[in-house]
């Protein structure tokens, strides 16, 4: 029996008696990060990184949570479990599982560029590596984030000069926090949608230092919003909630914007190719760096990615999971809280 099995409830470690990111309620769950396709409700015990705990508390409510730091080890039934930064969002971690000399690493979602708030991704040497493949096609190659931040800043300044509000569409957990620092360099006038605000406050209360933002309220005056920046989740796109910001320009931050068709379909005024996932090169380099004898590709372009790995000297297998629901649908409908 392999140390990690792929079951209909999720990735299961029989020896340790725990699941990693299960999609059904289980007794013991280790959670890589707080996105809803990885952190699901109903389990009796959750283990995660210190920074993920407040996110889970905010999203899943009160449950028995235990948290540890990166490079910290805990034993479960004699199985060594260690967390390493995954660089995806705040608190996101890779889970290293070690027993009898065999090492498995579950990456969860990850990106290889250090965004300054999520921790710096580091490849972990292992025998078996479970990787995501959201952007596992060679057309996806990211520009350095500094270049994209520059574009976003210039766009904001251009809108300000024209007396327009800049509405940025970004995931309320992850990109919304990542964007704050570059935005704060050009304006102090940052407003956020309720869903973004609630997440923001959960993180701030947990001790994260994030730039100051204001929640858009029913009584927020038009004067205050003029030429401001507003961050909202994609559920706000095309909704009457946006009317408040007229005149505004809308910009979307997503890796999917790499393909023109996606950008045009969204009918946004601007699109920024900014992702919290690794691009093609990042995925390949990470898989190589783990020196794993077998790579398992989950959600995304897993068939393309595994075929490529196999043809290039790395044994790889496709794994069907229930992750990536957000990403698949995310393009058009993001299942996020829409409380305003």
């Amino acid at each position: 029996m392999p140390l990690i099995e792929f079951t209909d409830k999720g990735l299961f470690c029989r020896e340790g008696g725990f699941y990693i990111d299960p999609w059904r309620p289980v007794d013991k769950a280790i959670i890589t990060h707080g996105h809803s396709d990885h952190a699901r409700w109903g389990s009796k015990y959750y283990l995660c990184h210190h920074h993920t705990k407040p996110i889970l508390q905010h999203r899943l409510g009160p449950n028995p949570y235990q948290s540890i730091g990166w490079n910290e080890t805990i034993y479960m039934n004699g199985v060594r479990v260690t967390l390493y930064p995954a660089g995806h969002i705040i608190g996101s971690s890779q889970v290293k599982v070690e027993y009898n000399g065999t090492i498995w690493v579950v990456s969860g979602d990850y990106k290889t560029e250090n965004d300054g708030i999520s921790g710096a991704f580091e490849p972990v040497k292992c025998h078996h590596f479970i990787t995501e493949s959201t952007f596992g096609l060679p057309i996806y190659k990211w520009k350095p984030q500094k270049e994209i931040y520059n574009n976003i800043q210039n766009w904001i300044l251009k809108n300000q000069a024209a007396g327009k509000t800049s509405v940025l569409i970004a995931y309320s957990l992850g990109k919304a926090q990542r964007l704050l620092a570059p935005i704060a360099e050009v304006t102090k006038n940052i407003f956020v949608h309720g869903a973004v605000f609630n997440m923001h406050m959960a993180l701030v209360n947990a001790g994260h230092k994030l730039p100051w933002v204001q929640r858009v309220q029913p009584d927020t005056s038009k004067e205050d919003l003029k030429a401001a920046v507003v961050i909202a989740p994609s559920s706000a796109e095309g909704s009457p909630w946006l009317k408040k910001f007229l005149p505004y320009e809308i910009g979307i931050c997503s890796g999917w914007m790499q393909v023109r068709g996606n950008a045009r379909r969204k009918n946004a005024d601007a699109s920024f190719v900014l992702s919290d996932h690794a691009d093609w090169k990042g995925l390949l380099q990470s898989c190589k760096a783990t020196e794993a004898e077998c790579v398992y590709a989950t959600h995304g372009f897993q068939s393309v990615f595994t075929r490529y790995l196999n043809e290039n000297g790395i044994e790889a297998k496709e794994v069907i999971t229930e992750y990536g629901d957000d990403e698949d649908k995310g393009l058009d409908q993001e299942p996020e809280e829409t409380t305003i």
Binding site: R264, D269, K329, D332
Partner: protein, 541 residues
């Protein structure tokens, strides 16, 4: 090239027509004369011929990006656009390299020049060009010689931008940039000057097009102010006779003079200095001047798209021209005259010509909207698509305009069918399953009978896409077979017998009219239902 690539990116990302207009006006006021001419050419379907085929181009891209062919294909299915796929896959140009920005016309003229050169020369030029371009430039460069240059800019927008730049009226501009002109031999000033117009005898007038009528027809007011005629189901065309030369234009500004030998006798019969607007359509042999009932569109399909027409085809599907309007008379542009005056002159000409190919579109008599509604319901018997309504006092305008002309189409035929295959779309719909194949029931079997694209909202498309991704059964290249579960109503304009299709029928202009969430796949229509429609509405081939 850089400023042109920038223009294309701006046009592609802006959602407001005014922003696009500004971007174009800005470009036209800054760019060099020869570049401007090429931009007009590119946006009006006057692209240079492609110097290499797309397979070769893709192959060069895989070499330069060092990837396997299958990986290129997978990428292409996601991107849905060849030019863009290549631009995304090619390695980034090294930043430290000093790049000299070459003008647009340099690349285009070079592309034309290498057309007859050996493959190695072509490869040299194209790879060299890729090497000196950024991603946006690569995309635009590739676009110039692959597929269509559709980037959300209508001809109307180009015309308006030019009108703003050079201070001429849009209808004058539209006329001047139409017809036969060679972008590599004409300057911007020449193209837009009055002088050139008189030189090009073939230059057509842009068509006046109608919107579909919204709501109830009675909003048009007093019926006596309106003229009605059948909306014929052929190809819109324009016949021009000037200084002894004769030209046939189709909508889309394609010169088709040689495609329809039936029109050749008109060259000697039409008076000089006329331009006639009408419908190119197949007609059974009729008496001169009398537009009887034409043949269905499927007959015309045997004629278009063919370089050489055989005698047999000429006999089986003879083409006539049903005239709607007269745009030029005695060499004068008479588009400003009221419709009734133009029609009077048109009638005189047709009567004088007396040729079986030249017909007058008959007026449909009616004294009340109620009566016209009754007439419209008989459209299908006439192989017409419905009724055209034109204000008797109207001028002949340019492009699609509201107010004076309206089309009032009959309701489409419909059939309920289940989706069985799905394929990803292109362009705006890339990476989404948007092209579907539908089947009707035949006993226990499902028989595919049509593909259809449009008609769903973006939200519905996302839902269907989600369904396909989770219910795909088999993969055949880009096509997925899916669980036959989603039922849609398919609307179409006509039906014909076809030996090429398993179902034995071919539909005209099929599209999804709505999602029948209320219907299980067990209740869809049957092959017999389709055959019944064929019996009633199909053509007897």
């Amino acid at each position: 090239m850089r400023d042109f690539a920038e223009l294309i990116m701006q046009l592609g990302s802006s959602t407001k027509t005014n922003d696009k207009l500004d971007a174009l006006v800005h470009y036209f006021s800054e760019a060099g004369s020869r570049d401007k001419v090429w931009v007009i050419a590119l946006f009006t379907d006057r692209k240079p011929k492609r110097p290499v085929n797309s397979t070769l181009l893709a192959q060069w891209c895989t070499e330069m990006a060092s990837i396997e062919w299958w990986l290129f294909e997978e990428s292409y299915h996601v991107v849905g656009d060849l030019a863009e796929t290549i631009a995304l896959l090619l390695p980034e140009t090294e930043e430290e390299k000093e790049i000299i920005d070459k003008p647009l016309h340099y690349y285009i003229e070079k592309l034309i020049a290498i057309g007859r050169e050996p493959e190695a020369v072509k490869k040299d030029f194209i790879l060299g060009s890729w090497n000196e371009m950024n991603q946006a430039e690569k995309f635009v460069f590739n676009k110039m010689f692959t597929g269509g240059f559709r980037i959300g800019v209508s001809q109307k927008l180009i015309v308006n931008a030019l009108a703003k730049t050079v201070d001429l009226s849009p209808s004058v501009i539209a006329h001047r940039i139409s017809g036969n002109w060679d972008p590599s031999a004409i300057s911007f000033e020449e193209l837009l000057s009055e002088h050139t117009v008189t030189q090009d005898l073939s230059k057509p007038y842009p068509f006046f097009l109608a919107y579909a009528i919204e709501g109830d027809v009675t909003v048009l007011g007093d019926p006596s102010e309106w003229m009605a005629e059948w909306k014929w189901d052929g190809i819109r065309g324009e016949l021009i006779q000037r200084e002894g030369a004769f030209f046939v234009w189709s909508r889309g500004e394609e010169l088709m003079t040689d495609k329809f030998p039936e029109y050749q006798p008109l060259k000697h019969l039409l008076p000089d200095g006329v331009a006639l607007d009408g419908e190119i359509i197949c007609m059974p042999e009729t008496k001169p001047g009398d537009a009887g009932i034409p043949l269905p569109f499927s007959f015309l399909q045997t004629r278009i798209g063919r370089k050489n027409v055989s005698k047999k085809q000429l006999k089986a599907a003879p083409v006539g021209f049903i005239c709607y309007d007269l745009l030029e008379f005695e060499g004068q542009d008479i588009r400003e005259w009221p419709l009734v005056e133009r029609r009077k002159k048109l009638k005189e000409i047709i009567e004088k010509v007396q040729h079986p190919s030249l017909l007058l579109s008959p007026e449909v008599d009616f004294d009340s909207w109620e009566a016209l509604k009754e007439m419209r319901s008989q459209s299908r018997d006439m192989f017409a698509e419905g009724i055209m309504l034109k204000r008797k006092s109207s001028a002949y305008q340019v492009g699609r305009k509201r107010g004076d002309w309206w089309k009032w189409k009959i309701d489409a035929l419909t059939i309920d069918a289940v989706m069985i295959y799905a394929q990803k779309g292109a362009g705006k719909r890339s990476n989404l399953y948007t092209a579907y194949t539908f089947a009707v029931r035949d006993g226990e079997q499902l028989i595919p009978f049509t593909r259809a694209y449009s008609g769903l909202t973006d939200k519905e498309i996302a839902e269907v896409d989600y369904f396909v991704k989770r219910n795909a059964i088999e993969k055949f290249g880009p096509v997925r077979t899916v669980k036959p579960e989603l039922v849609f109503e398919i609307a179409f304009e006509g039906i014909a017998a076809s030996k090429r299709h398993k179902s034995g029928v071919a539909l005209r202009f099929p599209r999804i009219s709505r999602w029948r969430r209320d219907k299980p796949p067990s209740e869809i229509n049957t092959l017999d239902d389709l055959r019944d429609l064929l019996k009633v509405y199909g053509n007897k081939l």
